[in-house]
């Protein structure tokens, strides 16, 4: 390690040794919050700059105050003053540092300011978008949805919040426009899903699923029984086993039914020799504790097809019951 780094490390230790004055920090945060509520933006920004460099208050306490301030700010309305204040602090470079617990030659802030400030902007983005969505629904301004951008996680989430909690009579007329918006931009599919959840509308859920991808799709398929009912979900899951993006979710979901539904159990058994899906089916069946499962798994162990025998073993491992484990112990 060079000398400069060693000195930095020592300085960091010294900084870490400075305790935060929590009371003072809270008091300063409160003062800044009050100031923000009454002063124009230029003055607020100037005061934040001044406070950041106010050496009469220990640096660590100052940054604790700024952190508390920016976290509290997110409960305030995202007006221009607040927004500019948070934006200013999202560019703040913390100076009260402590050695990183894993790499002592690296430092981390004692109190993060910039990241929560960015988070505050994200909170507001979501709130603003929710408000905009609610307003659009109330005003029947459905163009709002077709102009929605999918580039920011919280924009989509905020619009979805609006739809999820909207009065049904406002929501229903918006549905064709939502479909049009999602057709234009499939990444907006979560807003249609939110509307479908609000309306408990299986058909709309099905439409949403045509567009949904990734984590949203997986979760939706996995929890489909709660949205479209157990029977319709069961049919969907069974249909999804053949191909497509929902196989993993469908197998996991069907596994929950396998103990009480012999047909489902049988369907999962037919997947056992599938190179890609067999292990998933084995896990789902094993955990289901379906009747007769252990005996069938034991039969699979004797298969002259190595893959089937392997899946039998996985099924017994997943089952984990006494008989299953005894069978495994007897295996070479």
């Amino acid at each position: 390690m060079n000398r400069a780094l060693a000195l930095l490390a020592l300085a960091l230790y010294a900084a870490a040794g400075l305790a935060t004055d929590e009371l003072e920090a809270r008091s300063q945060a409160q003062r800044l919050l009050l100031m923000t509520s009454v002063l124009p933006s230029q003055a607020v920004l100037a005061e934040l700059e001044r406070f950041s460099d106010d050496r009469s208050i220990p640096l660590e306490t100052r940054e604790a105050a700024l952190r508390q301030y920016v976290l509290s700010l997110r409960d305030e309305p995202p007006d221009a003053v607040n927004w500019q204040a948070a934006e200013l602090l999202s560019r703040y470079r913390e100076r009260a540092l402590v050695s990183h617990s894993h790499s002592l030659q690296n430092a981390v802030p004692v109190h993060n300011v910039a990241a929560p400030a960015r988070g505050t902007l994200n909170v507001w983005t979501r709130k603003l978008e929710r408000s905009a969505g609610e307003l659009a629904l109330a005003n029947q301004d459905y163009g709002y949805f077709s102009s929605l951008s999918a580039n920011h996680m919280q924009v989509v989430a905020g619009a979805a919040d609006a739809l999820k909690h909207a009065p049904v009579q406002l929501l229903e007329p918006a549905i064709p426009h939502l479909i049009a918006a999602v057709t234009r931009e499939p990444a907006l599919a979560p807003i249609m899903l939110a509307a479908a959840a609000n309306l408990s509308d299986p058909d709309l859920t099905a439409v949403a699923l045509e567009f949904l991808e990734g984590a949203d799709r997986f979760r939706t398929v996995l929890e489909l029984d709660g949205i479209i009912g157990p029977d319709a979900a069961r049919a969907w899951w069974l249909k999804s086993l053949d191909s497509g993006p929902d196989q993993a979710a469908a197998i996991a979901a069907l596994g929950r039914m396998a103990a009480d539904d012999p047909d489902v159990s049988e369907e999962l058994f037919t997947l056992m020799g599938d190179a890609d899906l067999g292990a998933a089916a084995a896990l789902a069946l094993g955990k289901s504790q379906a009747p007769g499962l252990v005996d069938r798994a034991a039969e699979l162990l004797k298969s002259d097809q190595p893959m089937l025998a392997a899946r039998g073993r996985l099924m017994l491992q997943s089952h984990g019951g006494r008989q299953a484990l005894q069978i495994l112990e007897r295996q070479p």
């Binding site: 390690m1 490390a9 809270r26 945060a29 409160q30 919050l33 009050l34 509520s37 009454v38 508390q68 976290l71 509290s72 997110r74 409960d75 007006d79 999202s90 540092l97 050695s99 990183h100 617990s101 894993h102 790499s103 002592l104 030659q105 690296n106 430092a107 802030p109 993060n112 910039a114 990241a115 929560p116 960015r118 988070g119 505050t120 994200n122 909170v123 979501r126 920011h152 996680m153 989430a157 997986f218 979760r219 996995l222 993993a248 979710a249 197998i251 996991a252 596994g255 890609d276 067999g278 292990a279 998933a280 084995a282 896990l283 190595p306 392997a310 899946r311 073993r313 491992q317 997943s318």
Partner: protein, 854 residues
């Protein structure tokens, strides 16, 4: 001017937290508001946009292990609660490379800190990437064949299960979320119920539990059992730590070349520098290759190297220090994304923590909770990237073989190859059939010991993503003092198809390169009179920019002190940089010589190496540039063994991509063709220098071995063609078998104008391979072998000693042959063989012979 009434209650944010000991992560704003759905583990082994449960991951690992022969799993220890801790070896079954060197090893570990769910997913992503690409006959197959990749996906099994038991709940200690979803340590002294107080903070930080710096730094590890960095009661006091050590032994430990402990978050490499500067530089370059490649992938995520020193005062008792110091290998902690809030800032363009994805960053601990929408990309990108680092540490590149092929005849005129003799020594096999001639054109074929090039989506050679264009340059020049002869412009090409010289790769796609030389009128031609030795100067970099080993005679390896050994530069000096290879010289002549020898049908004969008297080869040249070899030899224990190959004739060479050996046959009436199985024992190539001699290379016992053979039988006249006038029996020669005995058979070869030698490739009564040989008379289709023999005592390969071979009388055989059918009767003096007969059908027709007397 009052804009509004402010809710000062918001400032109770922190105070409110303190009053609730167990609280939840939420999607909506709040003390632990994420801004995205709270991930919950799903019981599936399949990769998806989310996190798998421990059972799901374990099932995935076990399914791979049970269904792929290149994966072996082992329980390397048990957790505090007695749960199995699994490590997996991704490698072929042997522990040696395809050229015969001891395999290097890497160890990559995940799941040491329970809450860092990204880590086991990434380890599983590495496995998934290796499995999906195992058949690529390129980078990944190369790694599986030549490296032992030890992967341990979840070390802290108990802790991991605790976090998955409470995917939302945490115990809030001040403002720090602990236990439940935020458990970091193992479960020593902890029950599994988050609601029981008194034990929530307990456990040992497994990344503070390692020697040699265990408990040496009170700022970074603690003796307080409640501390987040509690170091435990002693170095490697925890069963999980002992499992880690046991996993390293799977390398085995003295073959390790790299260690990575996969954590989250901060999007950096926390690498460990030791007092070995050479090791540190290699590590820095390795991490540079890792990061450069990763940055080019879908997410464009950049990992920054932030090294620290493994020395008292700075070290913390972590596992990366343990591996860096104990095994002297590149060793680092990979902190997966999101970025953190390091100072100096490693990622100035990113806000850090969950805010990297648009999250709320309410508490930067949310960096431990990657959004479900991100994990697939993270898993797949890092799954792709780790093999690049493995490739680098597999070793610097080395030239393994060079061939000059005469373009007009396709004959190999010079053949050089570095054969492994031991872990520290290669010997040069060199066979120049004739000097290179100035009035001919040649193809130079070079083979390396690893895949050397990346191809883009269009199949064109391109730098490995993140590497400089210069890494694709190749120099292959002939040097004579100050005269340089380069290949024809634009003739150089990397070889993407199988087949070997001159048009195919050697073992892996793009491990071979060819270029054209036309020496006529060249500066070199003007400088040569008579026969002169000319140096071949070779320079190339592998995909990560490592230069060639300047002296292939000493294989590059990782030295015990922590740098490359046997890795020479251009001047033969051992460094970590490599250089160009000018170890090979070839004879060039200004004389105009005859064409080099090319294979003719008369090559069909019995051949043997005088130093291997007691084993040998029957070669049959067939039509359509095909040839068959029967190799009658022995196994390691001195029992009889035979192999068959079907090869391609190219100029003066026959290449046998597979040598097949059989099992399951039983001699005599008990023979059942359905029980005979053929398996691939290796490969071989034979290069003839003239009609009476060849040099053969085989790779049956992993490393190359060779024989130089001469004729045992000869039925040729002039020009190496069959002398059918003198050897009237020739049309009856070839391979014969009984249709009901498919899996054994006879080879009849001319040994004189009215003499034949017969080989019967069969089995004994116990199902072992056997071969019986005898020579006898031939008269108008009637062959009489009055005394056949059976041999024993030879030992396969270089250990063969002719003096240990003994021949035992076997009995008699009588053949009655037409052109296409015949019969054989036999009477053995050995009771286990007895007497019998077979009806024969011709299996092979030798090229150049025509039988019309049936």
């Amino acid at each position: 001017m009052k804009r509004r009434t402010i809710v000062l209650g918001a400032l109770l944010w922190c105070g409110a937290a303190a009053s609730q000991s167990v609280i939840e992560w939420t999607e909506q704003p709040g003390i632990l508001g994420l801004g995205f759905p709270v991930p919950e583990p799903v019981d599936t082994p399949l990769p998806f946009d989310g996190f798998r449960s421990y059972n799901g991951l374990l099932t995935r690992h076990q399914d791979f292990m049970l269904n792929h022969e290149f994966i072996a799993g082992e329980v390397v220890g048990n957790s505090e609660a007695g749960r199995d801790i699994w490590a997996y070896r991704y490698s072929d079954a042997d522990s040696i490379t395809v050229t015969g060197l001891p395999e290097p090893a890497i160890y990559t570990q995940g799941g040491i800190h329970a809450r860092e769910w990204q880590s086991p997913e990434v380890l599983t992503g590495i496995m998934e990437h290796l499995v999906a690409n195992a058949g690529d006959q390129w980078l990944h197959r190369y790694l599986l064949d030549n490296m032992n990749m030890v992967l341990l996906p979840v070390l802290n099994v108990d802790g991991y299960l605790q976090t998955q038991r409470y995917p939302r709940q945490v115990y809030l200690e001040g403002s720090a979320p602990r236990d439940g979803r935020m458990r970091r340590k193992n479960m020593l002294g902890v029950d599994e119920d988050i609601n029981t107080s008194g034990d929530r903070l307990l456990g040992v930080d497994l990344n503070r539990n390692s020697p040699p710096f265990w408990a040496t730094n009170s700022g970074a590890s603690s003796s307080d059992p409640g501390s987040i960095v509690h170091h435990g009661s002693g170095p490697h006091s925890e069963p999980e730590s002992l499992a880690m050590v046991a996993a390293a032994r799977l390398g085995p430990e003295d073959r390790l070349r790299m260690y990575t402990d996969v954590h989250s978050f901060s999007q950096v490499h926390f690498s460990v520098n030791t007092n070995n500067t050479r090791r540190n530089v290699i590590q820095r370059n390795l991490l540079g290759d890792f990061s450069s490649f990763h940055a080019q992938l879908e997410g464009g995520k950049v990992y920054i190297d932030r090294p620290s020193d493994a020395r008292q005062g700075q070290a913390i008792g972590s596992t990366d220090e343990f591996f860096a110091v104990t095994y002297a290998v590149p060793s680092w902690t990979l902190e997966i994304e999101p970025s953190g809030t390091l100072s100096p800032d490693a990622h100035p363009s990113l806000p850090g923590c969950g805010a990297d994805y648009g999250g709320f960053a309410s508490n930067c601990h949310d960096g431990f909770i990657l959004p479900e929408s991100e994990i697939r990309r993270v898993r797949e990108n890092l799954g792709q990237t780790f093999p690049i680092a493995y490739y680098g540490q597999a070793g610097p590149p080395s030239v393994t073989a060079v061939r000059w092929i005469d373009d007009a005849t396709g004959a190999v005129v010079a053949d050089a190859e570095w054969d492994v003799q031991s872990a520290t020594q290669r010997s040069l096999f060199f066979n120049q059939v004739q000097p290179l001639q100035l009035d001919r054109s040649y193809t130079l074929w070079l083979a390396f010991d690893k895949p050397m090039r990346w191809r883009n989506d269009n199949g064109q050679i391109a730098p490995l993503p993140g590497q400089a264009t210069r890494t694709t340059e190749v120099t292959a020049d002939l040097l004579l003092e100050d005269v340089t002869q380069s290949p024809e412009d634009s003739s150089g090409q990397w070889l993407a198809n199988a087949g070997g010289a001159p048009d195919g790769y050697y073992r892996y796609r793009d491990d071979a390169y060819s270029a054209s030389f036309n020496l006529a009128g060249s500066p070199l031609a003007a400088a040569i009179t008579g026969e002169t030795q000319v140096t071949l100067n070779l320079s190339a970099q592998d995909m990560v920019g490592q230069l060639l080993d300047g002296d292939p005679a000493t294989p590059a390896d990782w030295g015990i002190v922590g740098n490359w050994v046997g890795y020479e530069d251009t001047n033969g000096v051992e460094t970590d940089l490599g250089g160009s290879d000018d170890t090979l010289t070839f004879a060039v002549t200004s004389a105009a010589l005859d064409d080099p020898f090319v294979i003719t049908p008369g090559v069909s004969a019995v051949w043997f190496d005088p130093t291997h008297d007691g084993e040998g080869f029957v070669i049959e040249v067939l039509d359509n540039q095909r040839a068959v070899v029967y190799w009658f030899t022995y196994d390691k224990a001195g029992n009889q063994r035979w192999m068959i190959g079907i090869g391609q004739v190219r100029g003066n060479e026959v290449v046998f991509p597979e040598l097949l050996e059989s099992s399951g046959g039983i001699f005599g009436d008990a023979f059942d063709p359905a029980q005979v199985q053929f398996s691939n024992a290796g490969n071989a190539s034979f290069v003839w220098s003239d009609c009476g001699a060849f040099r053969m290379r085989h790779n049956v016992d992993v490393r190359n071995q060779r024989q130089a053979a001469l004729r045992l039988t000869d039925s040729t006249g002039s020009g190496c063609e069959f002398d059918t006038d003198r050897f009237s029996l020739l049309p009856f020669t070839g391979s014969w078998y009984d249709l009901e005995h498919d899996g054994e058979g006879f080879v009849i070869s001319a040994a004189g104008p009215d003499r034949v030698v017969v080989y019967w490739f069969t089995y004994d009564d116990a199902g072992n391979q056997a071969w019986i040989v005898g020579d006898g008379s031939f008269d108008n289709g009637q062959v009489n072998i009055e005394q056949a023999f059976i041999a024993s005592g030879g030992v396969f390969g270089d250990a063969f000693d002719p003096d240990t071979v003994s021949l035992e009388p076997w009995g008699q055989l009588q053949f009655s042959l037409g052109c296409n059918s015949g019969s054989v009767n036999y009477q053995s003096v050995l009771p286990q063989y007895g007497s019998g007969s077979q009806n024969l059908t011709r299996l092979t027709n030798l090229a150049g012979l025509d039988c019309t007397t049936d």
